[in-house]
């Protein structure tokens, strides 16, 4: 289970990064259900964290424009498990998208400091 909070009308959850030769640290990401990949970080953060470049991809921004974005890889700790995920260098706020939430149930209390939680969907017994 991952817990976050509603801050300024935005659902925010922490993501722990595990980078080589560094202690773990956490960054707050805004949950964006209109974003279909894993995570974005602003380009400045990607270079400061020295995340290796892996690929380039074409993205459609919310206003319909297309942009080439670079994909970097990072190891995160997601729900107590290590996971290597693509990080898109884009925008100025860290976003968490639907690909990372696959298999999870999202709950948000839309009030100041409201509870945000992501819980693994239990496999249905059939």
């Amino acid at each position: 289970m991952i817990n976050g909070k509603l801050i300024d009308g935005k659902a925010v959850v922490p993501v722990i990064f595990r980078l080589p030769t560094q202690p773990d640290f956490s960054i707050d990401f805004i949950i964006d259900t209109g974003f279909n990949d894993h995570l974005t970080l602003p380009p400045q953060a990607v270079s400061a964290m020295n995340l290796p470049l892996y690929s380039t991809t074409l993205a459609r921004l919310a206003d319909g424009r297309e942009a080439l974005l670079s994909i970097h890889l990072a190891t995160i700790v997601w729900d107590n498990r290590e996971k290597v995920v693509p990080i898109l260098a884009s925008g100025y706020k860290p976003l968490l998208g639907t690909a990372l939430m696959e298999g999870y149930h999202l709950e948000i209390d839309f009030e100041d400091n409201g509870l945000v939680s992501l819980e693994k969907i239990s496999p249905s017994i059939s």
Binding site: D32, G34, F35, N36, D37, H38, Y54, S55, T56, T57, L58, A59, R60, L61, A62, D63, G64, E66, L68, L69, S70, I71, L73, V84, V85, P86, L88, L95, A99
Partner: protein, 90 residues
């Protein structure tokens, strides 16, 4: 010019050429729709998996300076913000 000097636009253009001239017919089947394809823009070598991470790691391991391009099979763009992507294959 060596791939290491290519701009992001050049990488995208060359990878798309490989896709249109041969890869597309081989990969656009029901099983693959929505998966990620990663193409080496220099050689046309490619791989498919759910997030593209596995393939990118494999291709980079073979060739650390490979310039890779990621596409989502059957969609106009791999990544969208504000829900703005279209399926191009029915």
């Amino acid at each position: 010019m060596q791939a290491i000097f290519w701009t992001g636009e050049e990488v995208a253009q060359r990878a798309k050429q490989f896709y249109e001239n041969g890869i597309r017919q081989q990969v656009e089947c029901d099983d693959n729709l929505g998966k990620m394809i990663v193409i080496d823009a220099e050689t046309g070598e490619y791989g498919i998996d759910k997030t593209g991470v596995e393939t990118a790691l494999k291709l980079k391991q073979k060739k650390p300076n490979a310039r890779l391009f990621t596409m989502r099979i059957g969609y106009d763009v791999a990544v969208s913000f504000g829900g703005a992507s279209e399926r191009t294959v029915k």
